[in-house]
């Protein structure tokens, strides 16, 4: 059997069960609590609050996409279809930030 065929068979049948889903749900809850704690202790974290919160959000994003949306278990074609536009989306956000905050900054108030 080719690796592609093995992957396709894997795609059809390897979804996790309720026990794994429960573990992921608990993990996502813990990460959400950590995010909120990072916000609460904003002063103690000083300039690190945004990177810490964004890192934790990235973990949650990956957790939901990999386990709940089954990207970890499904064909890699689906991962590609999702990740390519996602990379473009990141470029769009980066481009807008560059345009408005670096090249043509707006007057800052609140």
């Amino acid at each position: 059997m080719t690796s592609e065929a093995a992957e396709i068979l894997h795609d059809q049948h390897a979804h996790p069960g309720p026990r794994t889903y429960t573990k992921v749900a608990l993990w996502l809850t813990v990460v959400t609590i950590l995010e909120i704690l990072a916000y609460v202790f904003e002063k103690q974290l000083a300039g690190f609050v945004a990177p810490v919160i964004l890192f934790l959000s990235g973990l949650k994003f990956a957790g939901v996409a990999m386990w709940y949306m089954h990207l970890k278990f499904d064909s890699r074609i689906f991962s590609g279809i999702f990740l390519f536009p996602l990379s473009l989306a990141a470029l769009v956000i980066f481009g807008l930030l560059l345009l408005y905050h670096a090249l043509h900054p707006l007057p800052w108030v609140g």
Binding site: S57, K60, Y68, M69, P107
Partner: protein
């Protein structure tokens, strides 16, 4: 000697689908849709971030010190939104339980979890309606300032997606009640789940970007 046509190894499998990729076309199409939706939300999140901190008049999202030294209290209610975030995360958990139940042929529990997911989505929408009403009373509308315009566009568009998801799930729930969600229909539930989890991961980004990061 007659030539034997080449048959792919996976073609003999009962699970192989007769498509060029061997994968279900409906699922493929739905992932393409999710990719397109990612770009829509990227534009909205990018706009919010581009104009973040550029509103000239209150209300502001977070506590802000004006150039004249006056301190304006932020309008966002983090504890309330934290609860609604938890509700939406829990709804994703209910959704995967619904899929697992339908895949093992347990229509009764599959339907229960589908309705539980729709209920959690409705609770999230209730929180959002309360938040929007409160903000309008505080003077934050689409026309108030850049924060109002970008905030309502982003969270309103997400809320609309949640509403569509709730209707989608209720439709599946009714099919389940009528006994029409057997294991052979599990892909329908899986695709609904993909939509629901996408709505969830969009919120996973919106919550820190809009609410938590000052």
């Amino acid at each position: 000697m007659a030539s034997v046509p080449a048959v792919p190894a996976h073609a003999s499998s009962p699970h192989h689908l007769d498509t060029s990729t061997g994968l279900d076309s409906r699922k493929m199409a739905f992932w393409c849709f999710i990719g397109a939706e990612s770009l829509l939300f990227a534009a909205l999140i990018g706009s919010y971030l581009a104009y973040k901190g550029a509103s000239l008049t209150p209300p502001f999202p977070h506590d802000t010190v004006l150039p004249n030294g006056q301190v304006v209290k932020g309008i966002l209610n983090i504890p309330l939104t934290s609860v609604s975030t938890f509700v939406l995360l829990t709804s994703s958990y209910f959704m995967v339980l619904a899929l697992a139940a339908i895949q093992r042929g347990d229509q009764r529990w599959g339907t229960v979890w589908l309705f539980a997911t729709a209920l959690a989505g409705s609770v999230f929408l209730g929180f959002q309606a309360y938040e929007f009403t409160h903000f309008v009373r505080e003077g934050l509308t689409l026309r108030s300032n850049l924060f109002g315009a970008t905030f309502y566009m982003l969270t309103g568009c997400h809320g609309l997606h949640v509403l569509v998801g709730v209707i989608y799930l209720l439709t599946l729930g009714v099919l389940g009640m009528r006994g029409r969600l057997g294991p052979e229909k599990s892909l329908n539930v899986e695709i609904a789940g993909l939509y629901w989890h996408f709505v969830d991961i969009v919120w996973v980004i919106i919550f820190p970007v809009v609410y938590l990061i000052p």
